[in-house]
């Protein structure tokens, strides 16, 4: 047992160790030591977050845990450094440090031009991502949210493929436009919440915001809209996804391992953590729209992936489709669907990371992103191929693997959702099980099967001694574990979901809404 008073320190350590590591990396000159240092720091962070996950008490999942000390800017401005983990964030926090660790560990296997600056930026990304999930203050969340953008922009802009410039600008400008608008939203919310508490002029602590949520319902619509817009870009939802495919395609694999599995979750996490709970009335008004957009994302992403030939873009569109499921589950807002969405955020992280890493291994030897240039990997590298097949099956929702559990909870919840009021959304979304099989099996057919197209594909030598297949094997173990024993993981979010649902129900009924009528008009105030 770890003594309880030490846990908050462990949380802070696991967040800040990557930052410390990155500073040291920038200062230290030896390029050889850089990689080892990065691995050591991220391993440290990973171990700490595993300890935290084991120490987390699921029965009190609705309470923020490991948060004993915090600090605010001044007495009247309650904006500051408060961190902790709750039922919604604990799994995402652990997943982030795991995938971040994998990204740093495998970087030289999938990318040849690594150097200290590269590792330093990856470490900043890791720290900032952990910060996003640990922040218990909206402004702090915003800082980490923005902070993660900077290293990513450099990673794409400097180490990206031939078309990196436009990819970087697509990514940066899109995200920045969204988040600058959100900043105004954050400030408005901060000032509004302070009116409830005497002697305070500004507060963005989550606790204060939650208490003030009824006030937010009467703010102008654009305040809520700014949050919605920022996260619709981040997730992304159709039609705000234009930055995505190009950014994934151009970014080096270690950076994609942050972008696709982790950073898109900022948006969906924000939705479930504060956008829906703090704006329930306004959210109910836009429910049909968001639900429609998420179903469009699901179908559009899956269909366009069927004819795409760029391997990384196929995975990007598949990601667009899968994130649509997560948003649909959140919009449906009942116990199975919320829990399914939270679990699916982790599931999608694991499967996407495994797929990008697996195909990263393939593209490391044969650098073409066009799937027609590949083939026969199953005969030249059976271990990697096997792991890719399993991860693909998880991605298309084969029962017994992780993807199915989340998908089933989401869809069954959405089918039975009072918020959505129609079973059509779920049925249309479920149609993607066919489309997903089509594009995924096509991808496997051209890359893994057939005969080797390229001499490089049959080359067995590699510069690294790390066994590639077995690193992917770690993902597979988690996929099977979640696939067969999902309550071990959903127990974290159970209590949180129940409490949050009751709270939202309370706010809705205060506003004279039953919470079951999807067609409400905006409160005119």
């Amino acid at each position: 047992m770890v003594p309880e008073f030490i846990l908050p320190w462990l949380l802070n350590l696991s967040m800040w160790i990557p930052f410390v590591g990155s500073v040291l990396l920038f200062l230290c000159g030896s390029p050889k030591r850089g990689r080892v240092m990065a691995i050591v720091f991220s391993t440290f962070s990973l171990i700490l977050s595993i300890i935290l996950a084991l120490q987390f008490m699921p029965t009190y999942g609705a309470t923020v845990q490991f948060a004993s000390f915090g600090a605010t800017l001044s007495d009247t401005v309650r904006l500051g450094y408060v961190v902790g983990l709750d039922g919604a964030s604990i799994l995402l926090f652990a997943m982030t440090s795991f995938i971040g660790w994998i990204a740093i560990l495998t970087a030289p296997q999938v990318f040849s031009r690594t150097n200290n600056a590269f590792y330093g930026l990856l470490l900043i990304l890791l720290g900032a991502s952990l910060g996003v999930f640990a922040a218990q203050d909206l402004f702090l969340f915003y800082i980490f949210f923005e902070l993660a953008l900077i290293p990513m922009a450099f990673l794409i802009g400097i180490w990206g493929d031939e078309d990196r410039t436009s990819a970087t600008y697509g990514f940066v400008v899109y995200t920045l436009v969204g988040s600058l608008l959100m900043l105004v939203g954050v400030l408005t919310v901060g000032f509004t919440s302070a009116t409830l508490i005497e002697g305070i002029s500004f507060s963005t602590h989550f606790d204060d915001l939650m208490a003030a949520a009824p006030l937010f319902q009467e703010l102008p619509f654009w305040v809520f809209g700014s949050f919605l817009f920022a996260f619709a870009i981040k997730i992304p939802l159709f039609p705000f996804h234009s930055w995505q495919a190009n950014a994934y395609a151009q970014a080096p694999i270690p950076a994609v391992l942050f972008m696709a599995p982790i950073m898109v979750k900022f948006g969906s996490y924000a939705l479930v953590r504060f956008v829906i709970p703090y704006f329930p009335v306004l959210f109910e008004a836009v429910t049909p729209w968001i639900a429609t957009l998420s179903v469009l994302s699901i179908l559009y992403g899956a269909m366009i992936a069927i004819t795409t030939t760029d391997i990384k873009k196929i995975l990007a569109f598949s990601s667009l489709s899968h994130m649509g499921f997560i948003v649909l589950g959140l919009v449906a807002w009942n116990e199975p669907s919320i829990q399914g969405s939270i679990l699916q955020m982790v599931n999608h992280g694991l499967t996407t990371a495994a797929l990008f890493l697996g195909f990263g291994y393939i593209m490391a030897l044969n650098p073409s992103r066009n799937l027609m240039d590949h083939g026969g990997v199953a005969s030249t590298r059976p271990v990697v191929a096997t792991m890719i097949v399993i991860a693909s099956m998880a991605s298309i929702g084969l029962p017994g693997l992780n993807g199915f559990v989340g998908e089933f909870m989401i869809l069954s919840g959405a089918f039975n959702s009072a918020q959505l009021g129609s079973t059509l959304y779920a049925v249309l979304a479920a149609f993607a099980v066919i489309l997903a099989a089509m594009y995924t099996l096509r991808l496997l057919k051209f890359t893994l099967f057939g005969t080797p197209q390229h001499a490089l594909d049959s080359e067995v030598t590699s510069s690294s001694t790390l066994p590639k297949g077995w690193i992917l094997g770690l993902f597979v173990i988690l996929m099977v574990w979640i696939g067969f024993q999902s309550p071990t993981f959903t127990q974290f979010s159970q209590e949180w979901t129940v409490v949050m649902q009751e709270y939202v129900q309370q706010v809705l009924s205060d506003f004279g809404l039953s919470g079951v009528n999807p067609s409400v008009s905006l409160p005119s105030n």
């Binding site: 930052f19 920038f26 600090a71 605010t72 001044s74 007495d75 500051g80 450094y81 200290n116 600056a117 330093g120 930026l121 702090l140 800082i143 450099f154 802009g157 400097i158 410039t165 436009s166 600008y169 697509g170 400008v173 899109y174 039609p239 234009s242 930055w243 495919a245 269909m303 366009i304 004819t307 009942n334 199953a378 005969s379 097949v389 084969l398 029962p399 017994g400 089933f408 869809l411 069954s412 089918f415 039975n416 079973t423 049925v427 479920a430 149609f431 099980v433 066919i434 099989a437 099996l441 057919k445 893994l448 099967f449 057939g450 005969t451 067969f484 024993q485 999902s486 309550p487 979901t497």
Partner: protein
Amino acid sequence: MSLTTIIALVLLGLPALGALALGLAGLSKESWRQHRTPFGVLATAAVYIPFLATLYLGWTVLQSGAFTVHFGTFLEAGEWSVDLAYLIDPLSITMALLITGIGTLIHIYSIGYMKHEVGAWRFFAYLNLFIFAMLQLVMSDNLLVLFIGWEGVGLASYLLIGFWFKKPTNTDAANKAFIFNRIGDFAFLVAMFLLLKDIGMLQFEGILEGVDGMSQDTLFWVGLLMLIGATGKSAQFPLFVWLPDAMAGPTPVSALIHAATMVTSGLYLVTRLSPMFVLSPEVMMIMAVVGAFTAFIAATIAITEYDIKKVLAYSTVSQLGFMFLALGSGAFVAAIFHVVTHAFFKALLFLGSGSVIHTMEHAIDAKHGTKRSGLQGSSHEDEASQQLDPQDIRLMGGLRHAMPTTFRTFWIGTLAIAGIPPLAGFFSKDEILMHTFNAGMGEFAGPLYIVLWVLGMVTAFMTAFYMVRLTATTFHGESRLESKLPGASAAFHESPRTMTFPLWKLAIGSIIIGWIGLPNFVVESITGQEAHIHLLKEWIYAQAADIKVTLLYLTEWLLMGGSIVVAFAGVFTGWRLYGKGQWEATDQRLQERFGEFYNTCRERYLLDEFYQRVVGQPVQWACKNILEPIDRFGVGGVVAFFGVTTRVSGGVLRMLQAGLITNYAVFILLGVLFVLAMMILGPTIGGAP
């Protein structure tokens, strides 16, 4: 844990363990991959021990009744939860016995068949995975865990069909099987959502208790969606097109997929939920129509096929149609009965065809001088370069002398499927047709069922006919390979003992297994008292909600007589027309006689082309010409909009690339740290917290 729980765990877990062990062994070391027989033996043990476990569990059920075993929670979602729980009752035991029993024989056969295959470890791992998934499917106590098996067998068959993955057409066949199954799975998913919404649970027990409270609409939709699901998995019209293509896999796979296991899952599902299905006569009617129609058109295609495995594949589709006809007529016991008998004779026929293909390959290769050695990769992958197809019955003939065991057992299988008494197929097929006739006397859609009965009788005739055509053309007459490749027939030989042993076992089964379902009315009509000689019915009666037969004994006798006449007529006609290997003349005559209809059958009713034209191409076209431009326009717009920025900042980027990146990043980091430090230290500087 009690003893029975541990034994159930062995039954359910050992095949998975086998698959895992084989996979790890094969993936870990290059040198281990060379071993073949040890892998085969290990895989066989992982199926044979569960077979013994099933026998024990069956004995327990016989002694003390059905029970359920739990292994923790699978999924928990607040309002409902589902356990990893398994039913040990007569129906699941029957299916498990079939799967592990016939599975064991197929594993033994594979040891011989895959002897020269480098990837044998992979093959046996897939086989074990398949058995594992199949057992999940038939043992589960709820729909969700059943769905693990449902899609699991889909995955295993995808891997097995695409086993020789170097040939792109094999991968295409594998993808096709998976995707067509997924269409059915989609319907299955929606059916589960409906059940959750309506009665809030997925356990069979709960569903069957809740059926009385379900509205007629829900019953209809759940039934129909599940029927669509079953249509995909059990290869019924219009989703059966994947199955003939699935012949791309190694022969034991065909046997496993077709005979004992995967395709029967749809039937199992309907039987398990039979009390729900009988409440919706419309769904029952649709099921019967689909079944009879599928049986008929698949049989017509089988008459025109020349590929030995494809004839058997269409014959399977046709027999599955019979089973669906049984379900739709309310004869659930008869459907399971036909599953059991069909498993024996169809596995026998597929394995026999494998034996034939094996020898044909050797004969062709011996003549061509190419040595099919396992060392340079998969032996069967050279097929593409071969001019002569070893599966083409037009090249066969005269094989009866060289391979007596295969020849004899194949004939036994043929007579069994044709419905010649007292072989297995006769009893189950007769029972199905009798039930259909019985439904024809019923109130709901009676005349329709009579039409289906006629269709069934016609199909029964055709079954006997095309099977004799196949057998005679393969084994009788003169060797036609000899005329193409003089001297090739010298290389004909009987298969090794590991392959003939299962053939004999299955042949004996094909003769006697029908006796577990002797018709009760035969005794009843003589003694006038209720009889219990239909053992299978006594055994699984509680799970199968059969509709009662209300026919007169005389009618039943006449129907049975009709079945016998039809079977003998089919065999006789087939023998007259094909018995001396005169397939060419006969097929020509058939073509002249039936004209366009024959050609339609030959082209498989153009179903594949239909899917290609109506679904495949338009979707591809829309993706390429509508969605992609939209997406490119979106991305392009952004790029154009920020083009100006790009040019300006390009300079900045160049600067950064010139080595300033490290410094720049440090500045950013320091700035962020400064802000955060302000936030942390702010209170300390500004006053009391």
